[in-house]
């Protein structure tokens, strides 16, 4: 069997991916042979009860974790065989992250928070500043550049986090329960924003959620049950 070329490949392909924590009798299988293809430009919602393995799947998809067995191909690259630093380089180049807890640096202005990923790309200060201002503008936060997280509402903080995730113009945006800490009004605003990024900028969005009305914003829903795709 010949390797399919990168062009025919989907952006992301999981084949028989499993993840086992611990060893021996205490071993716990979080993922049990997951097969999943994600095309570029997709907006995928991952749903499932707690303990279904959706968070583990997200960590593997985000190249934060490696599968215990199986293949993970990202643009044709075998992620499971990459070193820690190689995965870091892949993340900084192709991936953006949004977390339930925002994870903004305290006592640091919105713009400096957004600039952070560019810092690790070694961009000069002027370029960083311009890109950060553009990203903040695209999430509707022009004029809030110098506010620190403590001076922003939860919705605004999550938008800063989204700006930080897209400032590097990533191929994939991974959002782990992005509306988990927000009320329904703010949640809808965030979801509109994600849908816009997906539709207008062609960014592939992978989102974990347990709320059906949030999942409804996605083009496709994948349900995890007991460590496998249902």
């Amino acid at each position: 069997m010949s390797e399919p070329s990168a062009i025919d490949m989907p952006l992301i392909r999981l084949r028989g991916v499993s993840k086992v924590y611990g060893e021996g009798s205490a071993a716990l299988s979080a993922l049990k042979g997951v097969d999943l293809d994600i095309e570029a430009g997709d907006f995928l919602a991952i749903m499932g009860p707690s303990g279904s393995g959706k968070s583990t799947a997200m960590n593997v998809l985000g190249c934060l974790d490696t599968p215990s067995a199986g293949e993970y191909l990202f643009q044709g690259v075998h992620v499971e065989s990459l070193t820690r630093d190689q995965r870091a380089r892949l993340r900084r180049r192709y991936l953006g992250f949004v977390f339930q807890g925002f994870h903004l640096l305290a006592r640091t202005s919105a713009r400096e928070n957004v600039e952070l990923p560019l810092l690790y790309r070694g961009e000069p200060a002027a370029a960083r500043r311009a890109a950060a201002s553009r990203a903040l503008a695209s999430v509707g936060l022009t004029g809030w550049e110098h506010h620190t997280p403590a001076e922003l509402s939860g919705g605004q903080q999550q938008r800063v986090a989204i700006a930080r995730a897209i400032v590097t113009e990533p191929a994939v945006l991974l959002a782990d329960e992005p509306t988990g800490n927000l009320d329904s009004q703010r949640s809808r605003e965030i979801m509109d924003l994600l849908r816009g990024l997906n539709a207008d900028h062609g960014i592939t969005v992978l989102m974990v959620t347990h709320e059906a009305d949030m999942a409804a914003y996605a083009r496709r829903i994948v349900r995890f049950v007991d460590g496998a795709v249902a």
Binding site: L64, A88, R91, H103, P117, Y120
Partner: protein
């Protein structure tokens, strides 16, 4: 990247100003202790050296008795005579001046007050050899020296104790049964090499002291200054030879006199202060080490506290070595800032203490630079372990950290 990391580190230090200051405190105290000790030690060494050179450089002091002899035992050795001084001056080459010295202690009465002081009988050569300058008046005349006239020169301490603010010139002093006229006042020389007051002295012609005060013809000490460019070893050798002959010592007998070289004395004394400086500096260096452990402690706390931040940095693509570098730089910046503060503190403390202890202040660029580099090195050494812990974190765990 390095510049950005540096500004990141500075920002994080500013964010926790009080904690950063407390972290630095150990280094501040360590560096300032080391720098102060060494600076004051060097000042003290210089003070000792200049005090010894005020005794006169290239000076040999010849005393009866063997060196290191317990007091009282040396009493058996015969003292010198004026003739010995003349013989040395005429028979040995490489000598600039010879002064015989008869020394005693006596109470001096004048102006209704009395004061106990050293009374020295010698010649004008005593002034030249000892680098003495005249503040007022004149030296002894040849006639006065030959005749043993009742004249004297007084040191600044004696003048002050007896006459206060008045001039002593032309006044009469009474020493024992004798009355003598003050013909000159010596310029102040201050503290001697052994903490003695060199200005507490009355100088008279040798014959005056011998005839009217001590009542014998003993000369306690011979002061010999060597000519510029002469070889101290050779001069010392022929001096010893001459005195052995004059004192009729057979080849098997030990010298019953000793020759002290002030240069040797200077070296021995400044060697002692140098050892003290090194010792105190080493003790202070231990406190630097303690300061380094303080930095490590706080950096470990800081790493734990910022686990979520580290997780985020790793998640968005920071490499291990970039996180390592960030925390390492933070530790180094903390330590070097502490070093700079310590140097500033030490400069202030040294200036104040130098004045208080009456030693000269000497800025020593070497010790300042070295202790600064050392504190930066401590930052690297003690910052490495916490930084590595941060760099090796698992991003998923770190992001979940509460």
């Amino acid at each position: 990247m390095l510049l950005a990391t540096l500004s990141l580190a500075l920002r994080s230090i500013r964010r926790n100003l009080l904690r950063s200051f407390l972290t630095m405190l150990g280094i501040v105290i360590g560096v300032s202790a080391v720098v102060t000790m060494v600076t004051l030690g060097n000042g003290a060494t210089l003070a000792v050296q200049s005090q010894i050179s005020s005794l006169g450089t290239n000076l040999l002091q010849v005393r009866p008795g063997q060196r290191m002899m317990a007091p009282g035992l040396g009493g058996a050795a015969p003292s010198f005579t004026e003739a010995d001084a003349e013989a040395i001056a005429t028979q040995i080459g490489g000598i600039a001046d010879v002064a015989p010295e008869a020394r005693t202690i006596g109470t001096i009465v004048a102006n209704g007050r009395n004061w106990s002081s050293s009374i020295i009988g010698s010649t004008n050569a005593w002034l030249t050899i000892g680098n003495w300058k005249l503040d007022q008046g004149r030296m002894f005349s040849g006639d006065e020296l030959r005749a043993g006239a009742a004249v004297c020169l007084v040191g600044e301490t004696v003048r002050r104790e007896l006459f206060g603010t008045q001039s002593a010139l032309g006044e009469q002093l009474r020493v024992k049964q004798m009355s003598c006229e003050v013909v000159g006042v010596l310029d102040s020389k201050g503290q001697g090499a052994f903490g003695n007051d060199q200005d507490d002295v009355v100088l008279m012609p040798l014959k005056t002291v011998q005839r009217r005060i001590t009542g014998n013809f003993r000369v306690n000490t011979l002061l010999v200054s060597m000519a510029e460019g002469s070889f101290p070893g050779r001069v010392k050798g022929s001096l010893t030879q001459l005195l052995r002959e004059r004192r009729k010592l057979s080849a098997t007998e030990d010298d019953n006199f000793n020759v002290l070289d002030t240069k040797q004395l200077a070296e021995a004394l400044s060697g002692t202060t140098r050892v003290m400086t090194t010792l105190l500096g080493a003790v202070a260096a231990v406190s630097l080490l303690v300061g380094g452990i303080g930095i490590m402690n706080i950096m470990l706390v800081s790493v734990t506290e910022r686990t979520r931040e580290i997780g985020l940095r790793l998640a968005i693509g920071a490499l291990e070595r970039e996180v390592l570098l960030q925390f390492l730089i933070e530790a180094v910046v903390l330590a070097s800032l502490g070093g700079l503060l310590g140097i500033a503190l030490a400069t202030g403390a040294s200036l104040a203490l130098a004045r208080f202890m009456d030693v000269p202040y000497l800025f020593n660029p070497g010790v300042n630079l070295l202790s600064f580099l050392f504190s930066a090195g401590i930052g690297v050494l003690f910052g490495y372990f916490p930084a590595r812990r941060a760099a090796h974190m698992d991003p998923i765990e770190a992001l979940r950290h509460e």
